[in-house]
Amino acid sequence: MKRQLPFLLVFIFGAFMTIQYYVPHESSEFVYTFLLDWTMIIGIFALALGIWSLYHVSVDKIQHKKENWIYSYVTLFGLFIMVVFGFSYKVGDSWGMYPLFVIALMALLYCLIHASISRSKGFWLGLSGAALAVSFGVAFFDDSWKLAFMTSEGLKNTMFTNFADFVLTPILATMFALLAFFIASAAYRAFRARNVLASLLLIAAIIVMLRFNPYMPFGLPELVAETSSWLMNVPNLAAQRAIVIGIGLGIVATSLKVILGIERGYMGKG
């Protein structure tokens, strides 16, 4: 039964969603949006599981002092400090005791990590209690800032925006920029005129790369631009359509197999 119930649910909802596509009526839309709302709710609960998993893996690294374990602290502190920033905002002109509040919470996190890995659990739990008491006390008595769980005030917190703008943004942009280097090295290794087909690929690649190159003589820029446009719109498009049709059929077939319970790999049954 434990195994059969999920498949039954998949069949019912899969079949409903398939039929719903052809029924524009309001009642069908209602059920559809209702189900989609459920997807969101489940997703949010799953995120909590995800964060727990990340915490667990990081703590495990710290406990066993695996390679670069020190960075696990950075991960955990980074994760939780941004949550704190995102839920708090300044009311008056100064932040008051806010730094103390943040430090107390981070100390709480540190104590909790050690409470779960250390032998002297009681000691660390005691310290956690103290840190928690300090943070509560500060939050209760300090009026220069507030916590906001239901509104978006916290998103305007300067600490939150500064970390996002000046730490996260440059790091992510850097990661993407690596692509330029990897494309160069991959192109260098891959584009070898080993045979006729590989040579055609090489020529096509060079034409497409040169398509906006204005420094070419005798009306060549126009010719290259036209050829590159043709390459993109004709051979590239033709090949892609073939793959897209194959993928489309594959998606329908796999969906059908999932709905009918033929394909069960996603439940751990190959």
């Binding site: 839309e29 949006t33 989609l36 969101m40 978006s152 942009a173 993407f176 160069a184 204005p214």
Partner: protein, 299 residues
């Protein structure tokens, strides 16, 4: 005993770090040098520009800022070019951001472009001179920023019924009904077109759930690596125009006579491509010569 490598063998199997080093030197050098390169425009960008340029004052365009900071280099210039063009023409904009870190991108773009619109400017495109008076861009009048919500496919579907379904209030917390611009604006039916600027799979959702279900003109701004994947949709008419990567943004800037960061960046991109072509040629010379040597040796 180590095998002796001749020059051609070395050309064929260069350590990738040499490529990285050479590339970065060329990129930095061309970025610091001050020159511009002429840009040829293509039909897929022209169609976006012409459509947006033909919109009358007061029309509404939905601009979806669906990219994170990692795609900023390629997609931010597009946002700047398109949004400035629309605001100069007094076309109103609804911004959405269905990618996690997108709101910060949209917020930054709105602030910067609002500033640059405060000055009078003259543009010369389509053979006509256009004089624009500087003006203040007002939230709720010139634009509405809906903000971010997770599960983009569901949000795109929801907006087809009513923007208020998923966004009862805008990013800054004002209820949509309180914004003058949103009076009578219910769903995509009141929007002239959707411009999606995206660096990921949100584009697919805009095509299948958005354009597919609600049939609005959809224009795409994509990162360079994604472009070729979306040409089939251009051919089938599901997408009305595509701007691809920095080149697409530079073309839009060229068409709108508003040179900006994309045209600046094209210098670097052009010379980076030269470097890649140079290394490909080197690799091939090495490959051919070594093969010849091997064949001669074999004989």
């Amino acid at each position: 005993m180590t095998e002796h490598k001749n020059i051609f063998d070395r050309m064929m199997s260069l350590d990738r770090r040499w490529i990285f080093l050479f590339l970065i030197v060329v990129c930095v050098a061309t970025y610091t040098a001050d020159f511009t390169i002429p840009i040829n425009t293509e039909a897929e960008v022209e169609s976006i520009f012409n459509f947006l340029d033909s919109l009358p004052e007061g029309d509404i365009v939905l601009v979806a800022i669906d990219y994170d900071p990692n795609n900023l280099a390629e997609l931010h210039p597009m946002t700047y070019a398109v949004v400035e063009h629309l605001w100069r023409k007094k076309v109103k904009i609804i911004f959405t951001s269905l990618s996690q870190l997108g709101p910060a991108m949209a917020d930054q773009a709105i602030r910067d472009i609002s500033d640059s619109l405060k000055v009078d400017k003259t543009y010369n495109y389509n053979g006509v001179e256009h004089n624009f008076k500087g003006r203040e861009i007002v939230n709720g009048v010139d634009y509405t920023f809906l903000g971010f919500k997770p599960y983009y496919a569901l949000i795109i579907l929801g907006m087809g019924q009513d923007f208020r379904l998923n966004f009862p209030s805008d990013y800054y917390g004002t209820p949509l009904d309180d914004l003058p611009m949103m009076q009578g604006v219910i769903n995509y039916d009141q929007v002239a077109c959707v411009v999606d600027l995206s660096g990921g799979n949100i584009t697919d959702a805009w095509i299948s759930y958005g354009q597919g279900r609600f049939n609005f003109p959809l224009m795409l701004g994509l990162t360079g690596v994604m472009v070729s994947q979306y040409y089939p949709f251009l051919g089938s008419g599901q997408v009305s125009g595509i701007m691809g990567g920095l080149l697409g943004a530079a073309q839009y800037e060229e068409l709108a006579d508003n040179p900006g960061r994309a045209k600046d960046g094209m210098r670097v991109q052009l010379f980076a491509h030269y470097v890649i072509i140079l290394f490909i040629v080197l690799g091939n010379i090495g490959f051919f010569m070594s093969r010849r040597k091997r064949m001669e040796g074999g004989n």
